[in-house]
Amino acid sequence: MASLKDLRMKIVSVKSTRKITSAMKMVAASKLRRAQTAAEAARPFAERMERMLGTLAASLAGQSGAPRMLTGTGADKVHLLVAVTADRGLCGGFNSSIVRATKAMAADLLKQGKIVKIMPVGRKAREQLRRDYGQYMIEGFEQLGRKGIVFAEADQVAAQISAMFDGEEFDVCTVVYNKFKSAIAQEVTRQQVIPFPVPELAAKSDTGPKAIYEFEPGEEEILAEILPRNLATQMFRALLESQASEQGARMTAMDNATRNAGDMINALAIKYNRSRQAQITKELIEIISGAEAL
C-alpha cells in the first residue's frame, strides 16, 4: 500500500498535468478559431477557380490538345501519395488516422502491382511511415504553417509535385488529408489532384446553352497556366483544412485528458483520505490498548 506521502505526491503530479492539458486545450481552441477563419476565407478563391476550370474543361472536352495534368499520362502505373499530417502529436487520432489510411492505400496499390511513392507533409507522417514504408518514401515537407499557412508554402509543395510530374516520375497523385467537419470531427479525405478530375460543374454546363466564352490567348494556353495554379490552390486548401482539423483534434484530446485527470484526482483524494483515517484509527487503537495493558 502506497504511503501517504506517495499519494500526496501523486496528487500533486496529476494536478500539474491537468493544468498543462487544460492550457493546451485553450491554446488549441484559440488557434482553431483562427485556422477556421483562414479556411473559410480561402474558400471563394478555390470555388471560383473551380468554376473557371469547369468552363475551360467543358469547352475543351473531347479535344486532343488538352494538357496532361488534366488528362493524365494515359498510364496508371506509378502512384504518388501525399500524406498531410501535423508536425506535433498530442492530438488524438489525428495523425494516426492519416497514416493508417495512407498505409492501407499503399498496400492496396502494391497488391495490384503498382509502384507507390509517398511524400510526407508534416513530421508525424514521416516518422510513422518510415518504419513500414521507408523504401517508398521520397523527400517531403515539414514545419509548414508555423505562423498560419501562407499560399507560398502550398505553392512550394505544388511546385515540387509538378516538377516530378513533368519529370514523369508518377502518373497519378492523390492527397490524403483530414477534412475539417467540426471542432470534434475530422474526416480522412483522399483527393486525386493529378490527373485533375473535372469538376461536376463542367458536366452541368453542358446541358444548358450557357454563355459561350472567348479565350485570351487560347484555351490551351490558359489551361497550361491555370492547372499548376489549381494544384497549388488544392494543396493550400488541404493544408488549411488539415490545420483546422489538427487544432480541433487537439482541443478534443486535451479536453478528454483534462477530464480524465480530474477523475483521477478525485479517486486519489478519496484513497488518500481513507488511508489517513485508517492510520489515525490504528494509532488510537494502539494508544488505547497500551493504556489498558497498564
Partner: protein
C-alpha cells in the same frame, strides 16, 4: 448610364473586393482591357500590373496584382490574383527589394524550371516598380 458591373478580386487567402462599379480596367495577358456591364463572356490571363476601378467618373481605387486570371461575363468580372496590394501601400523600396531578390534568384537558378520561376518574379517586381513610379 448603363448598369454597373459586379467586380470581385479574390486572392488565395481571402475575398479582397466585391462591389458594384462602373468599369474595371485589367492588364490582360494580351493587352489591357476595360470591362463594363454587358461585356462579352471571356476568360483571360492577367499579367502583373495595376487594376483600375472606375466609379462615379473617376478612378476610385487602384490595386496592384502579381498576375492571375480573369473571368468576365455580362454581369460580373472575377479576378483571381495570387497577390494583390493597393497601389497606395506600395513603396519604391519594397519594389526595389523584390527586384533584387528576384535577380539573385535568377542568378542562382540551376535548372529551367527555377529559371522560369525567377524570371516571373523579376517581371512581377518590375511591374511593381512601374506601378509605384
Amino acid at each position: 448610364m448603363a448598369d454597373k458591373i459586379q467586380f470581385e478580386l479574390v486572392s488565395p487567402a481571402k475575398l479582397l473586393v466585391s462591389s458594384k462599379v462602373d468599369m474595371v480596367v485589367v492588364p490582360g495577358g494580351e493587352g489591357d482591357f476595360g470591362a463594363l456591364a454587358l461585356h462579352a463572356p471571356m476568360i483571360t490571363t492577367v499579367r502583373p500590373g495595376v487594376i483600375d476601378i472606375h466609379d462615379g467618373g473617376k478612378v476610385s481605387s487602384s490595386i496592384f496584382v502579381a498576375g492571375g486570371f480573369a473571368e468576365v461575363n455580362e454581369e460580373r468580372i472575377t479576378v483571381l490574383a495570387e497577390e494583390a496590394i493597393p497601389v497606395g501601400e506600395l513603396t519604391a523600396e519594397l519594389a526595389e527589394a523584390r527586384k533584387q531578390a528576384a535577380r539573385e534568384a535568377l542568378d542562382d537558378a540551376s535548372n529551367e524550371r527555377e529559371k522560369a520561376h525567377a524570371q516571373r518574379l523579376v517581371l512581377i517586381a518590375e511591374a511593381m516598380a512601374a506601378a509605384v513610379g
